[in-house]
């Protein structure tokens, strides 16, 4: 039972990270119809920034906030400088740019900080944090931080005029212009926010997977899977999808271990986690192409 709860807790912690990165993907997808393949590498780069600040002596949370702010500026800049000229370009050109960005961030990080794996601290004190034996301090911290960030984003999009303008711009850019919304800036802002959320995911996961330029590769796949499971055009669904994928992959591996223990036959284990995640995606998309929470927008003509 205790082992089950531990697996559940670690699933939730991983899920929180997938959820954050999935949300970053969805934020860009809903306004541009593109999946930013470089989202993971941008998050990795931001994580290195926070590591660099800490190694220069900055406090963890100072480095955290500075890296998130840096990511925002980085996201806005990438959109304005690199993607803006491509607004009317064919999809393939944009995909090539995303892949280029992915390679650039990866190799620049490698060149500056080397490919050696670095350990990354956790800000959460072990003693008075977490529930002994069930959920570790860092896991609980990851879930909390992610939920706070997601909550802030929800409030921003739901209750502020700027958030409303961004949603309008994403939904119907032409009409948004006709009510005076500067759609191009809304896109750039969306990129900034997505990069910031990605940075939170990167910094939170670095303590678990350690810091290296390839740390986000697998996580981006999970995030993509989460976004698809939840519904690629539904931010809330992407978050739920993140937690579902995170918990489910651990549960499947846990069940596999139990079966092996009981019968001695190895069917499935930790090694097949990613496979399991991708099978989930295929099954969900076959049964419900819009994702679990993706609703088909009602439209009367």
């Amino acid at each position: 039972m205790e082992q089950f709860l531990q697996q559940l807790a670690s699933g939730l912690a991983n899920g929180a990270i997938y959820a954050a990165l999935a949300l970053a993907l969805v934020m860009i997808y809903v306004s541009t119809d593109h999946i930013n393949f470089a989202q993971g590498e941008m998050a990795m780069f931001s994580t290195y920034i926070s590591w660099q600040l800490m190694s220069w002596g900055a406090d963890y949370w100072v480095a955290f906030i500075a890296a998130v702010a840096f990511s925002f500026v980085m996201g806005v800049t990438i959109e304005r400088v690199i993607l803006r000229p491509l607004h009317n370009a064919p999809v393939l050109s944009i995909i090539v740019v995303f892949i280029g960005l992915l390679a650039i961030f990866n190799s620049v990080a490698g060149a500056i900080w080397s490919y050696l794996i670095k350990s990354f601290p956790s800000p959460f004190p072990k003693s008075d944090f977490g529930i002994a034996g069930v959920i570790g301090a860092h896991q609980l911290g990851v879930v909390t931080v992610t939920l706070v960030v997601l909550g802030l984003l929800f409030v921003f999009f739901r209750f502020t005029p700027l958030g409303l303008a961004m949603r309008a711009a994403a939904q119907n850019p032409q009409m948004a212009r006709l009510v005076g919304v500067r759609v191009d800036w809304m896109l750039a802002l969306g990129w900034g926010l997505a990069a910031s959320v990605g940075a939170v995911a990167g910094i939170m996961v670095a303590h678990i997977v350690y810091l290296d330029p390839n740390m986000m590769g697998g996580i981006l796949l999970y995030a993509f899977a989460s976004a698809l499971v939840g519904g690629i055009s539904n931010p809330g669904g992407a978050v739920a999808g993140g937690f579902i994928v995170g918990v489910l992959e651990n549960m499947v591996a846990y069940a596999g271990n139990q079966i092996e223990k009981a019968t001695g036959v190895y069917i499935i284990g930790n090694g097949e986690k990613l496979t399991v995640a991708l099978i989930i995606v295929i099954v969900v998309l076959t049964v419900k192409p819009a994702g679990l929470f993706g609703r088909v927008v009602v439209k009367r003509v």
């Binding site: 409303l164 119907n172 009409m175 006709l178 919304v181 009367r300």
Partner: protein, 237 residues
């Protein structure tokens, strides 16, 4: 009367294809002007050209200020509201959000609330639907929403692209009645594009007739209405 909007030698292009040829007209302050024409004559294109949503050449002056090269969102911010073809509903937002997003650019935030109440007074049905997803409204309700949303911009000029499109005659009459009230009570000048020439000529004081991208006739509505060619081609009797 001074012209609120002056258009001179306006040309418009879709890609390589030219679809407006040196169009010129004036919209008087406070009045309703209509632009008539058959399918493909260039009515919608003219409205789009005014807001610089397509490639244009020529002069467009609003309140004496040249707005030719400005971005669409900047033109709108000068208080020109465009109620587009197809109504431009933000389908996944609520009715309330559709209305509030139009006040996004306004500086006088305290007045917005009172304006919303007053505007809903013209369209009581929208008041009942405030929290509903706008995509679930009927066609007539969406047209009302589009006009109400345009009003939230606090416009001085409203460009209306076929508000009668696809609606039942009774609804059309109601919407046209409301438009007349808005013109008078809100002091909004209007440029109305219509295929329903009879209705448009009743509402507008001045009319221009477009044919394949050129203005072929203009004058007070009463004169245009009694012109024999117009009567035969557009009024059908």
């Amino acid at each position: 009367m001074a012209a609120l909007l002056e258009v001179k030698e306006l040309k418009a292009f879709y890609g390589q294809t030219q679809s407006l040829y040196d169009i010129g007209f004036d919209i008087p302050l406070g009045g309703i002007t209509t632009l008539l024409g058959a399918n493909g004559a260039g009515k919608t294109t003219t409205l789009r050209a005014i807001c610089n949503m397509i490639r244009t050449e020529g002069t467009v002056r609003f309140d004496g200020k040249e707005i030719g090269g400005m971005a669409t969102e900047e033109i709108v911010r000068l208080s020109i509201a465009h109620v587009p073809e197809g109504r431009g509903t933000f389908t996944s937002l609520t009715v309330d959000e559709n209305l509030r997003v139009a006040a996004y650019t306004r500086k006088d935030k305290p007045a917005v609330r009172a304006d919303l109440e007053r505007i809903l007074g013209y369209f009581p049905i929208l008041k009942e639907r405030l929290q509903q997803q706008a995509g679930t409204l009927s066609g007539g309700e969406q047209q009302m929403l589009a006009i109400a949303r345009a009003l939230m911009l606090k416009p001085r000029l409203m460009l209306l692209d076929e508000p009668s499109f696809g609606l039942a005659p009774l609804i059309v009459q109601e919407i046209f009645r409301i438009m007349r009230r808005i013109n008078i009570e809100e002091k909004v000048s209007m440029l109305l594009v219509e295929q329903n020439a009879a209705l448009a000529l009743d509402l507008a004081s001045h009319a221009y007739v477009l044919e394949t991208g050129k203005i072929v006739m203009s004058g007070p509505s009463s004169v245009v209405k009694s012109d024999e060619n117009i009567r035969k081609s557009y009024l059908g009797y």
